[in-house]
Symmetry: C2
Subunit: 207 residues, 2 copies
């Protein structure tokens, strides 16, 4: 005997098969977004690419939006993982070492899947995921700010909130533009130079 009504309206995957279906759907959505663009990502096409029927799609996702949201969440978790562990790793290092690490990680994070990152950035406002992404942003700011405050001795007198804002904006922008504009023609040497220069700028600013 099962809980609730026999026809569960939606969500929840209990058997292994259905979990695979859910994964396939999310994966297919991501692939289509990257390879064919947002407009081609119709529910029918997603189901087709996932090797699943539309009906099944709607058993796990109440709407197309929910699918895109799932992709966004997966991608954000991936990035936040990198950022969190970088900041933990860096907690006891002096400012210059820490900034260098953070710049490096920012670029790495953007390189995970640049095209997906781009498409998602464009689609976030549409999915009502703005709130979640803002939360994600606030977490980054809070973590960086905490670090900066713990290193006040090495720094000149600055408003920590303002300094965090400027540093995070700068690092994020350099990483973003580097990966998205300069396409895939990024030699290791170029990246290293860029990291050095950005680090120099930020560190110079902080002390």
């Amino acid at each position: 005997m099962a809980r609730k009504t026999p026809t569960k309206p939606r969500k929840n995957a209990s058997q292994a098969r259905s979990r695979a279906t859910v994964d396939a759907l999310v994966e297919a959505t991501a692939r289509i977004l990257v390879r064919e663009g947002f407009e081609k990502a119709s529910t029918n096409r997603i189901a087709e690419v996932a090797g699943v029927s539309v009906g099944s799609l709607y058993q796990y996702f109440p709407s197309k939006e929910a699918l895109v949201a799932a992709v966004i969440e997966r991608h954000n978790e991936e990035i936040m993982g990198l950022v969190r562990s970088a900041l933990a790793e860096v907690a006891d290092l002096p400012i210059d070492k820490a900034v260098r690490k953070l710049v490096t990680v920012a670029i790495e994070a953007h390189r995970i899947n640049p095209k997906l990152h781009r498409v998602l950035a464009e689609q976030i406002p549409r999915t009502g995921q703005l709130k979640d992404v803002e939360a994600f942003n606030r977490e980054v700011h809070a973590l960086v700010r905490t670090y900066l405050e713990s290193r006040r001795k090495e720094m000149r007198k600055v408003d920590p909130g303002l300094a965090t804002f400027i540093c995070v904006s700068t690092i994020e922008a350099v990483a973003h533009n580097t990966v998205l504009n300069q396409a895939e023609m990024l030699t290791e040497k170029t990246v290293r130079t860029l990291v050095e220069e950005t680090t120099r700028m930020v560190v110079g600013y902080l002390r």
Copy 2:
């Protein structure tokens, strides 16, 4: 006697009335994008808001995309006007004065119409306007780079291309995030502090 076929397929407005129609359409598109969002910007709705019929719309714009492109172009011209004149004004000034001015102008440019700026930024890839926006970006880079090269004496040894990239990215990001995140609660004092801090960072980096 007129040139060409009597039924001109599209484009071109010769009489005053039709120029007004074109303007109304572009203006209506911008208003809808800002006030109701991209998805509400159907051709029927645009025509309605412009006080014009769909048929007339299609006499001047071959597609919905073309309309959005026109809005983008108008907005970009507005911004480029600011940027060009700022860079001209700044050509003979030392680095610190110049950077301060550029940061100020960047924030001003973003404040022209923040909501429109946001919506357009999201929609650009969809309209095939990417190329035009890249051109616009390249112009900014070229102008800044020329300035920086003319001031080499005041600077440490840096690759001018790299320095331009980092400076433009930074200034753009700070302006962007300031206007888009901090909403409209921007006191003049906050803005001034931000300009000072950003200027300090960039100038410190350059020399």
